[in-house]
């Protein structure tokens, strides 16, 4: 093994050191925000809870700073991080209890040297579940909870314990190429929590199955390599985390949240500022903003995903056909799509909704139609390039039919740019959904949807700003997450960097 002698370079390539600074800055930013919010400037009083949070975050920040100094010293003296330093990560894990996802996940990554993708998935599956319990738990302050609440929470607690156990097992037994055979059934069990929206658990299960079966070494290596690349990008990881967290929250919301709080007007609680009962306050109809935002995620995600998947399938197919056959087919398909491309997307969407009425299905169709051409173009370019490769020639020489060449040989090899494009445009779809609702062209106004919520907020921007800030932040964070994750994905899948 090559020994790196340059201390500065060593610092640079040591992930723990870089991540320490990342964690440090985010904890510092949050502690500063808490400090700002801890003093009520209107009534000149201190908010004790917020002040406590500030102190905890501040302590965390200082602690992480201390760890980063330790790592630096370790690397200077012994070229690797000492066990003693790694153990310093344990207290950090508990910061999840105050919602500091950055330091908690950093704590997890610090305590072990063996960072397989499975381990990272186990961490985030665990953290996601804890945060879900915490967020759902806020419903206990409501006058009542839904009937399935207790059952669901018990299930979540059981899942959390399960993930915790898996965390320890994976850290100790799974390597970058190998997992014990008996993990296969566990891996299969881990696929099921997908029903709670916890995609990390699914990924963990999938990885474990792959490694436990130990059949195809090259596929394991590919898997390992791709995720290692994505996971080494902290922003991409947190992007993925936020997407999966929102997704999971929206999937489980019917079991732990009451839809009535989000839609039924309550005139005795109009425009209340955030309290424990209404964590994000209430809107002008007395509806709980917190419940509305949680339920709103459903529509934003459904429309966002559908309005990305539908055009990528249609556009992808059209692009593949036109790229493979070329000549007249290409000309006809692409010219028709060019015509569609010439119509401004949002105008087309508005026209479709104006003609067919405003509801979720029409919204998806309206947003999908406009983005078909861009997907077709991306696909066509890749297919044209790939159809000249030798393996396509040989398939053709073996007498394979056109359709099997396209869908078995060419399309699987041209998916990477499509996936990257889809991840990067899904954020745009979320914004378009919200914009149309904001303009009153999306779903019905009483149905919780982020654009709808923001619309009400915009009326009260000056007097009750929290009504606009929270849904705005959610839209922003979700879109940002998709963009960061898309960036990470692009770096990982880009053949040039491989």
């Amino acid at each position: 093994m090559k020994v790196i002698s340059n201390g500065k370079l060593l610092l640079k390539i040591t992930q723990e050191y870089g991540n320490a600074h990342f964690t440090l800055s985010f904890s510092a930013i949050f502690s500063f925000l808490f400090l700002l919010y801890s003093f009520n400037f209107n009534s000149q009083t201190v908010r004790p809870i917020v002040l406590t949070l500030f102190l905890i975050y501040l302590l965390t920040t200082l602690y992480v700073w201390f760890i980063s100094k330790q790592i630096k010293r370790d690397l200077a003296t012994s070229r690797e991080i000492q066990k003693r330093t790694r153990l310093l990560g344990i207290p950090l894990i508990f910061t999840i209890l105050v919602g500091n996802i950055f330091s908690s996940s950093y704590g997890f990554t610090l305590i072990t040297k063996n960072k397989t993708p499975e381990y990272i998935f186990a961490i985030y599956a665990f953290l996601t579940q804890i945060l879900i319990i915490g967020i759902s738990g806020l419903n206990l302050f409501k006058p009542y909870v839904v009937d399935s609440f207790l059952l669901a929470i018990s299930l979540f607690i059981a899942l959390t314990i399960f993930y915790g156990v898996m965390l320890v097992l994976v850290a100790n037994l799974v390597s970058s190429t190998f997992a014990p055979k008996w993990m296969l059934p566990i891996g299969i069990v881990l696929l099921f929590p997908l029903l709670t929206g916890n995609l990390f658990s699914f990924l963990l299960g999938f990885g474990l199955i792959k490694k436990a079966r130990n059949k195809d070494a090259s596929s394991i290596e590919k898997w390992q390599k791709m995720w290692r690349k994505i996971l080494s990008n902290s922003m991409a990881v947190f992007g993925l985390f936020f997407i999966i967290f929102m997704f999971s929250l929206s999937v489980i919301s019917p079991w732990t949240f009451d839809y009535d709080f989000a839609t039924e007007n309550n005139y005795s609680a109009i425009l209340q500022t955030p309290t424990l009962e209404y964590p994000l306050g209430t809107d002008d109809f007395g509806r709980d903003l917190f419940s509305r935002i949680v339920f709103g995620a459903q529509i934003s995600l459904i429309v966002g995903f559908s309005a990305t998947v539908i055009p990528s399938v249609i556009g992808g197919t059209l692009g593949a056909l036109s790229g493979y056959y070329g000549k007249k087919t290409d000309n006809i398909i692409m010219r028709l799509l060019d015509i569609l491309y010439a119509i401004p997307g949002i105008l087309l969407a508005i026209a479709i909704i104006a003609a067919f009425g405003a509801n979720t299905v029409n919204l998806i169709i309206a947003l999908s139609v406009g983005s078909i051409p861009t997907y077709a173009r991306t696909m066509r370019a890749t297919v044209m390039q790939i159809s000249n490769y030798e393996f396509v020639e040989s398939a053709r020489a073996l007498g394979a039919s056109d359709s099997s060449i396209i869908f078995k040989h060419i399309v699987p090899n041209s998916l990477a740019p499509m996936i990257v494009k889809a991840t990067l445009t899904i954020g745009g779809a979320v914004i378009s959904t919200s914009s149309l609702s904001f303009l009153g062209l999306g779903v019905e106004p009483h149905i919780p949807e982020w654009g709808n919520i923001l619309k009400i907020g915009s009326t009260y921007l000056e007097t009750h700003s929290y009504l606009a800030i929270f849904p705005g932040l959610c839209i922003m964070l979700l879109v940002l997450s998709f963009n960061f994750f898309g960036d990470g994905l692009r770096d990982a899948l880009d053949p040039k960097t491989n």
């Binding site: 206990l140 009451d258 007007n265 002008d284 109809f285 405003a358 009153g440 009326t459 009260y460 007097t463």
Partner: protein, 601 residues
């Protein structure tokens, strides 16, 4: 270890016991919907601008066991189209009684064949006609009877609330004491003054209006928000409404007016200090032509005649006028008595005149008030109809120049071609560009010079009651067209416009907390109500279903939502006459009427 688990289990169970679930709170199934079987469906038609009302209604009806479908249209045009097509069970409507009299609040809306009416009920027609002839307590009783039939017995409409008016004034520049906020009549421009009165001559007052397409500047050819304020300030009327809807002669063409005994003859004594103004080289000039009794007779005769102009929009308001004539026989005034008193008409008309009446003249050439020569106009109605005075105070009762209008409107009314013929008051003639050819003759305090999509420019009439308190204070006025109310409020806050007539309820705080602004609040005659579809729907045939919807409405919740800035209503008459009736939400009645409806099916 086992003990620990047991303890944990106990702790969890104990905690779980403390948590109330939805079932515990509601105590099992939904009691009220199970009795009525299938949920009746209600389609509510409304505009996007009334989204909040629609949401409250949806919530209230859903909670009372209805299946609600919202039909939200983006603007008034598509709303009307849907309404005309009958695609609704109930339509969220609103009505503002701009004349300040109860007859106007019901005649057009609910009488068979009325301008906006979908209701056809002979008993209701009878009550409307009967109530219109009465005054005072008798009228109150009659309107109470009418409301009982309209709302409670038949439920043709379901009332929601009465709105308040709120006006924002940029008081850093404009003197808020000079800006009136009348209940019914349009904004009064002539009284407005800047804080620094020396600026009145040089500085332009900037006002606001939402609609930039003007229907017509001929007062009888339009009755909508695009011209109401403009025409009110461009044409003087025989009488005016005060801020709380009393009919007076102040600020009008008459010195005094009188209703003669019998409630069907009305006399007006005209002043001689108002001349028509016209526009020359972007400024107003005095035409030296007196606004006279001849012009009054001409104006009111064309106002009541549906065939006087194409697209006559206001004749139904004036259909109760039988004759308009100039009185020359002073004996008629000496012998006639004022309604409900022993005073002679002449005495009543003579109050506060510059000189006692010596002669009543026929022609405008002979008028000279200072030497006792006056013109008197007499209006008669076929039936006793005291409220005709309110209609005369309406914008459509504005006095135009007989000479000018006759010289412009030379086309044949029956074969009018809007592409070829130019009608008096056509907005194209005042719009900047090739078609500009301002032919307006204004009898009111201001005259429109020109307009574009951005603003309309007005200057004061140089011959309007010069030297009196009614002489316009500010020389130049610009009416800025801003469609969106929130943008208009922003414009007010940075002083781009000086007065905003309608501050949204949710923005009162913003205006009151701004030290540059003053908020003026007053009652208004605007009522929001639900109009039931009267043909082809379940609600059209079943009064029980209508009543179930009626009693589902909780007006208190509307008022709470609007932070107390609305008042309870019973019908469109409510802001004008308090009949003592009250609509209260009643869940039991809803269940009862729904049951009756289901049984009758």
């Amino acid at each position: 270890m086992k003990r620990l688990f047991a303890l944990l289990l106990v702790a969890v169970l104990a905690l779980a016991g403390c948590v109330q679930t939805k079932k515990d709170v509601e105590g099992g199934g939904d009691a009220d919907t199970s009795t009525s079987g299938e949920k009746p469906s209600v389609e509510i038609l409304g505009m996007a601008s009334n989204e909040n009302d629609l949401n409250i209604l949806r919530d209230q009806l859903t909670k009372n066991g209805f299946d609600v479908v919202l039909n939200i249209q983006p603007d008034y045009g598509s709303f009307s189209a849907q309404k005309d097509a009958g695609n609704y069970d109930v339509a969220l409507s609103s009505w503002t009684t701009v004349t300040g009299n109860p007859d106007y609040a019901v005649r057009g809306l609910f009488k068979t064949g009325g301008d906006y009416s979908v209701v056809s009920d002979s008993k209701l027609d009878e009550l409307i006609d009967k109530a219109s002839t009465l005054t005072g307590d008798e009228a109150k009783e009659a309107y109470k009877e009418l409301e009982q039939l309209l709302v409670f017995d038949q439920a043709y409409i379901a009332p929601l609330y009465i709105s308040n008016k709120a006006q924002g004034i940029y008081s850093a520049e404009v003197n808020p004491k000079t800006v009136r906020l009348p209940k019914s009549r349009a904004q009064v421009w002539e009284s407005i003054s800047f804080n620094d009165e020396s600026l009145n001559e040089s500085e332009t007052l900037v006002l606001h209006q939402a609609i930039s397409t003007l229907t017509s500047l001929d007062p009888i050819k339009g009755n909508d928000g695009s011209i109401n304020t403009l025409n009110t300030n461009m044409y003087v009327r025989l009488v005016n409404l005060t801020d709380d809807d009393k009919v007076v002669s102040d600020g009008s063409l008459s010195y005094n007016h009188v209703m003669a005994d019998g409630n069907s003859e009305f006399y007006f004594i005209l002043r001689d200090d108002i001349n028509f103004a016209k526009v020359e080289n972007d400024t107003a000039v005095d035409t030296k032509e007196l606004v006279s009794a001849e012009d009054v007779v001409f104006s009111l005769n064309r106002a009541k005649d549906p065939n006087s102009v194409p697209d006559h929009r206001t004749y139904s308001i004036h259909e109760n006028i039988e004759t308009v004539e100039i009185v020359t026989d002073i004996a008629e005034l000496q012998n006639g008595k004022v309604a409900g008193s022993d005073e002679t008409i002449l005495d009543a008309l003579s109050k506060g005149l510059p000189a006692p009446v010596t002669e009543l003249v026929d022609s405008k050439e002979d008028v000279d008030n200072a030497s006792g020569k006056y013109q008197v106009v007499k209006i008669t109605t076929p039936n006793p109809f005291p409220q005709v005075l309110n209609y005369l105070a309406h914008q459509s009762g504005g006095i135009v120049s007989e000479k000018q209008v006759s010289s412009i409107n030379t086309y044949d009314v029956a074969n009018y071609d809007p592409n070829k013929d130019v009608a008096y008051g056509d907005q194209a003639t005042v719009t900047e560009g090739n078609t500009y050819n301002n032919h307006l003759y204004a009898s009111g305090p201001y005259i429109l010079v020109k307009k574009n999509d951005y603003e309309a420019t007005f200057v004061k009439n140089p011959a309007y009651r010069v030297g009196s308190e009614y002489e316009p204070k500010i020389k130049n006025i610009s009416v800025r067209f801003i469609d969106d109310n929130d943008s208009a409020l922003s414009a007010l806050r940075n002083g781009e416009i000086h007065v905003l007539q309608s501050v949204p309820e949710t923005k009162y705080d913003v205006v009151t907390s701004d030290k540059n602004l003053t908020l003026n609040q007053a009652d208004s005659n605007a009522v929001s109500y639900l109009q039931f579809n009267t043909s082809g729907r379940e609600v059209s045939d079943s009064a029980d279903l209508r009543k179930a919807i009626l009693y589902s409405i909780n007006q208190e919740e509307f008022i709470t939502y609007y932070q107390g800035n609305k008042r309870p209503a019973v019908s469109t008459v409510s802001p004008l006459i308090d009949t003592g009736l009250k609509l209260e939400a009643d869940k039991e009645k809803v269940t009862e009427f729904l049951k009756a409806y289901n049984e009758s099916k």
